[in-house]
């Protein structure tokens, strides 16, 4: 049995999920990484996608995050996400609406901001696709 470590997914409005986990897959800025017990201290931004949590009791939880920030410290993993929802509670229509709105806004932007917004949009769409696969 793998060693357990403590982790928390926090949004500004509430603690989404916390507890003991064996492994947590996080969509980091430069690709997915899996945090396990005694991971080296590590900080990264998180891109939109699905966080996969294998809890200490064997249950698997999936959380959709719309970007955020992960902090792996010797005491555990903290994921700060502005929008985080359990995949099973996710409202796809709402997400689509958000994506559509971003697409509309994109047309008005220019230069640096446009590049950044485009990147976020692509990541969001990828994250959405991922959710759809898991749901079906």
């Amino acid at each position: 049995m793998a060693e357990a470590f403590s982790f928390e997914v926090v949004s500004p409005e509430a603690l989404i999920l916390g507890g003991e986990a064996i492994a947590v897959d996080v969509p980091g800025a430069e690709g997915y990484f899996t945090a396990m017990a005694n991971h080296a201290p590590f900080m990264t931004t998180v891109k939109p996608g699905v966080v996969n949590v294998k809890m200490a009791d064997g249950a698997v939880e999936r959380i959709f995050v719309r970007g955020g920030f992960a902090d792996v410290s010797p005491t555990g993993l903290t994921l700060l996400a502005e929008h985080a929802t359990m995949v099973k509670d996710l409202n796809v229509e709402e997400l689509d609406e958000h994506i559509q709105k971003m697409r509309d806004d994109l047309a008005e932007l220019e230069g640096d901001k446009k590049v950044r917004a485009e990147r976020i949009l692509t990541q969001l769409s990828e994250g959405r696709a991922e959710v759809m696969i898991e749901m079906n």
Binding site: P12, E13, F42, T45, E82
Partner: protein
């Protein structure tokens, strides 16, 4: 002296007012509980954020590449004051004390020859400030239609603040809100948002972190750049939550006072009502007796 009928009407009207203030007090108490819970739920996020910010920025201090949001633009000529107040009145001195603090600060800055701009969040602050500062009031954001003010609203405000910073509209941004201490005490507070004021205390009590060598992905600067705007939304969100709790607390004590005052008034009115009724009875008796004697 008012007639018996007038007194009776006045007692009835004060009683009706008392019922309203009592109901408002109870509603405020229930809302306060909710607001406090919301503030509590938001605490882990902002605490974590502050800790991470302190960690990273400690390493960045004095660095030339520090983002502008942290280091500032190098000048402090133009100030933006963001004044967060409530949407409704009837909550004691809550709105006016925030507005007063902002007004004093604005006057002090203007006396120093600085340019001041203002952004109001909440209708009441706007009402209080529009007379004196109509030419520097840029905008007012109200959440009147929003039932539960959440992070989305805070993000909207901070987006506006950041967009103005990107356009170079100001150098220093200060946020005014009321910090919730208890039901009877709310402290109007001014907090500097930009340049970010990362206190070194927080990193000090995290002494163990200094020994840990962190790895950053993509890099320290990129993370900080990503984190600073987020931090501003978190600060704004926290201010909005504190404000919500303070507003309800202030309303609760204001309505408690009003209810008690109405009670005293009813007592006084009832007393003079009874006295007058007794006087009338006595008068009638005298009339009957003197009428009987005359026979």
């Amino acid at each position: 002296m008012a007639s018996l009928k007038e007194l009776r009407n006045r007692i009835a009207s004060v009683k009706a007012t008392q019922k309203i203030t009592k109901a408002m007090q109870m509603v405020a108490a229930a809302k306060l509980r909710k607001a406090q819970m919301a503030a509590e739920a938001a605490r882990p996020y902002s605490e974590r954020m502050a800790k991470v910010m302190a960690n990273i920025s400690a390493g960045m201090e004095g660095s030339e590449n520090a983002p502008k949001l942290m280091a500032g633009t190098g000048s402090d000529q133009t100030h933006l004051l963001v004044v967060a107040t409530a949407e409704r009145g009837l909550c004691g001195g809550f709105n006016s004390s925030i507005a007063r603090l902002a007004r004093e600060k604005a006057r002090a800055l203007m006396a120093e020859g600085k340019t001041v701009k203002m952004l109001c969040v909440g209708k009441k602050g706007y009402d209080a400030l529009k007379m004196e500062f109509s030419d520097i009031l840029l905008d007012v954001v109200t959440f009147r239609e929003v039932k539960n003010v959440g992070f989305a609203q805070a993000a909207q405000v901070s987006e506006q603040i950041l967009a103005m910073f990107d356009d170079g509209d100001y150098d220093v941004c200060t946020l005014f809100y009321s910090e919730f201490q208890s039901v009877i005490s709310q402290i109007p507070t001014a907090q500097q948002l930009i340049p970010a004021n990362v206190s070194s205390e927080e990193s000090a009590d995290e002494g163990d972190v200094d020994d840990v060598h962190y790895e950053y992905e993509p890099g320290e600067e990129e993370i900080l750049e990503d984190l600073l705007p987020r931090n501003i939304s978190v600060q704004v969100f926290r201010a909005i939550l504190e404000n919500a709790a303070s507003e309800q607390g202030a309303r609760m004590s204001a309505m408690d006072n009003a209810t008690r005052n109405a009670g005293e008034m009813i007592d006084k009115l009832t007393l003079s009502f009874n006295r007058q009724r007794q006087a009338q009875i006595t008068k009638e008796l005298i009339e009957i007796i003197s009428g009987a004697e005359a026979l």
